[in-house]
Structures are given as structure tokens and as C-alpha cells.
């Protein structure tokens, strides 16, 4: 139901991918919300999850890839003004790489409803793509880089889970609101939702 794998991105797709990459960067500008006793929550990963939820698997993953290429070539777009190739060789490298398949899987599940966006699918997509897939990529790399046993690395990343759950909730609320406000962006064809008002009915709660 999402954009087909072999299909080339048209100009509209390219513009949306570029804008979403810039949105992920803009979300990194928001000051981290400190959580007492836990790791501060940054809004950047919210952008990663949103990319998958809104743009779907292929375009969402492409937006994250574009964002990360800009970070790689030296733009300070990661939360806290970080950037450069150094971000891709440190402890967190696996998580950064994991954002790409993470957004893909999020989009795959969130857009699996044959043109309809339902809260439970969006939230499930965020949970599986934004948390499970990202951690599955991040924890082994973290363990390899730091030389920690896998279990210990997994333990240190548990601190991020509460923040991630909050972000999935927020991203789901935003996605459903956007589905009501501007449905065309969820499909690849230009006016699909406008032409078929029956399928444009938001399915919420």
C-alpha cells in the first residue's frame, strides 16, 4: 500500500523527502527535556519515527538517509549541534544507522491499512520500527565498540526506553492530527484521498 519498492521517486516525493530531512534537523534544535534520574529526551528521534509514520516505508527511510548524509558531510544537525563523520564511528553509530531501517519498518506497519491510517497500526509501527529495530542495530554495535558484553550494553540502553515510549505516543497523536489536517501527504499519488472521500475518513481511537 505504501510506495512500491521499484518505483522511482517523483519530484513531489523528492521535495517531501528533502523537507522531512530538514524537519528532523529542526527537531534536533529543540532543547532536550531533562528527565530526573534518566537520560534526557531529545525530539530528534521523534522526527525519525514521524518520517516513517507520515511518509511510509520507502520515502520515510529516504528522508532519514538524506538527513544522515548531511550529518556525515559535516553539518551540525544532530541534537546538541553535533555532526560530522565522527558521529558514525562512536558508541552511538549503530543507533544512527538503525534509524534508517527503523523508519522503514515504522512506515511499513503504519501504512499497512490499505490507505487508512489507524491509531493502533501507527503506534505499533513506532514500537516495532522506532524501538525494536533501532535497538537491534544499536546494541550490538555499542557492545562491539565498547567491548562490553551484549547483555551489559542492552542494560545501559534500557535508560532510553521510557523516553522512547513517550515519543511514540506523541508521534502517534501528531500523525493522526496530520491525517485529519493534510491527508494527501500520506499517499504517493497526488489527490488520491481528495478523490476518494470515503477512504479519507480518519480512523481514530
Amino acid at each position: 500500500m505504501t510506495d512500491a519498492p521499484r518505483r522511482r521517486f517523483d519530484t513531489r516525493d523528492i521535495a517531501r523527502i528533502a523537507v522531512f530531512a530538514a524537519l528532523i534537523a529542526a527537531l534536533g534544535l529543540i532543547a532536550p527535556i531533562p528527565v530526573p534520574g534518566l537520560v534526557p529526551i531529545t525530539a530528534q528521534t521523534l522526527g525519525i519515527i514521524l518520517a516513517g509514520m507520515v511518509l511510509g516505508a520507502w520515502r520515510g527511510a529516504a528522508a532519514v538517509l538524506v538527513f544522515e548524509l548531511l550529518v556525515l558531510v559535516g553539518l551540525p544537525l544532530l541534537a546538541g549541534g553535533h555532526g560530522g563523520a565522527a558521529s558514525f564511528v562512536g558508541v552511538t553509530a549503530g543507533y544512527l544507522i538503525g534509524w534508517i531501517p527503523g523508519a522503514f519498518v515504522t512506515g511499513l506497519i503504519a501504512h499497512s491499512g490499505r490507505g487508512r491510517i489507524a491509531a493502533w497500526r501507527v503506534a505499533l509501527g513506532g514500537l516495532v520500527g522506532g524501538v525494536l529495530v533501532v535497538y537491534a542495530c544499536g546494541i550490538p554495535v555499542q557492545a562491539a565498540v565498547t567491548g562490553l558484553p551484549l547483555g551489559a550494553a542492552a542494560l545501559t540502553s534500557l535508560a532510553f526506553v521510557p523516553g522512547d515510549l513517550i515519543k511514540i505516543t506523541v508521534a502517534t497523536i501528531i500523525t493522526l492530527a496530520l491525517w485529519r489536517a493534510y491527508p494527501p501527504v500520506f499517499g504517493t499519488r497526488r489527490h488520491r484521498h481528495a478523490e476518494e472521500p470515503a477512504t479519507a475518513q480518519p480512523v481514530t481511537r
Partner: protein, 197 residues
């Protein structure tokens, strides 16, 4: 373009971006995989310092770069001492910090434009599996152009909501998303009108 690049005229500044990217990759792999002892660890640190000197950067650059790795050091040492021997913790930390510093040096001595161009060149072999390097380049430069636009939209929405006395929260993101994605559609129309397909 806002970037972490520091202009200069050293050998490292003048070397082609693609070569530097490859060299970083090879060096990072070598430092990661070599089973370290004290001399090899010293050599790794020596290479990092020597390359920074060769780049003829301001003398405060390396200490500043090192200071930026402080959280990596704190997190690594703290978690590793709990599970590994102090020697392993030292080796791992020095290893990771030196690779991060090398990658930082690439960013310091290379313009983003040059790296983007190197990436586009590197993608050329992928043409066979359907990747169009020019479209990738277009998407990347479009995204760079969108950065200030999206930041501007976000600032405008924030001011509007504040003036209305609306409580600022996650819902603020929705109007920003709508305006930004509408803008994307306008840009797409403009590109199509100019014959970019």
C-alpha cells in the same frame, strides 16, 4: 552554509574529499581491529596528533575536539569498569576516542560541498541498480535549502501560538508539518514547471 569546517590551506585541506573519506574508513578499521598493546596504542594517538599538526589548524583545535568527546569517555569508562578490566577499558576508550578525532579531522578539513560531490561520485556505480546520482544530489541540496525554511516556519508557528496564548506542546508540531509539507508540494510544482522530472 553553516558547517563544522575550518578553512585552511594544508595538505589535508587540499587532498580530495573522496580519498580522505576512504583513508578515514581504512584507518578506523585498522585501529578497531588491531589487538592493541601499549606501543600500538601510543602509535594510534601519535597518528591522530601528527595528522592534526599536519592540518595546520589553530592550536586550540585538538584540545577542543578532545573536550567534545568527554561524554563518550565518561560513559565508556564508567560502564566498562563495571564489566571489564581497567586495561581493556583504557584500550577501548583510547581506540574509540582516536577514531572519533580522526573523523572529526575529516570534517574540520573538508568542505561539505566537496564531501557531497564525493558521495555523488561514489554512488555512480549504483546507477546499474536504479540509483540516479543526480537525483540523490538534487534531494541533498534541496534538503540543505529547506533547513532555514523549516526553521523559519517553526519559529513563525511558535510566535503565533504564543501570541494566541496557546500552551506550547507537542501539538505545535502539527501546523509546522502541514506548512512545511505544503511548501514541499509548492517546490515540487516549481521543479516540475522548470522541467525537472
Amino acid at each position: 552554509m553553516i558547517a563544522l569546517h575550518v578553512p585552511g590551506d594544508s595538505v589535508l585541506h587540499r587532498a580530495p574529499a573522496g580519498i580522505k573519506l576512504l583513508a578515514l574508513f581504512v584507518l578506523a578499521l585498522a585501529v578497531s581491529l588491531y589487538p592493541h598493546d601499549l606501543p600500538s596504542l601510543g602509535a594510534a594517538v601519535g597518528v591522530v596528533v601528527a595528522l592534526h599538526l599536519a592540518a595546520l589548524l589553530p592550536p586550540t583545535t585538538l584540545p577542543k575536539q578532545l573536550w567534545q568527546t568527554k561524554w563518550i569517555v565518561v560513559v565508556m569508562v564508567a560502564t566498562q569498569l563495571a564489566f571489564l578490566t581497567p586495561w581493556d577499558a583504557l584500550v577501548n576508550t583510547v581506540r574509540v576516542v582516536s577514531i572519533v578525532l580522526l573523523a572529526g579531522l575529516l570534517t574540520l578539513t573538508t568542505r561539505s560541498e566537496d564531501l557531497l560531490e564525493a558521495l555523488e561520485t561514489g554512488l555512480r556505480p549504483l546507477t546499474r541498480i536504479g540509483v540516479d546520482p543526480r537525483r540523490v544530489g538534487l534531494t541533498l541540496s534541496l534538503a540543505i535549502a529547506m533547513l532555514p525554511v523549516v526553521a523559519g516556519i517553526a519559529a513563525r508557528v511558535r510566535d503565533t501560538e504564543r501570541a494566541r496564548g496557546v500552551r506550547l506542546g507537542p501539538r505545535l508540531v502539527v501546523p509546522v508539518l502541514v506548512l512545511a509539507l505544503r511548501h514541499a508540494d509548492d517546490v515540487a510544482d516549481a521543479l516540475t514547471a522548470r522541467g525537472v522530472d
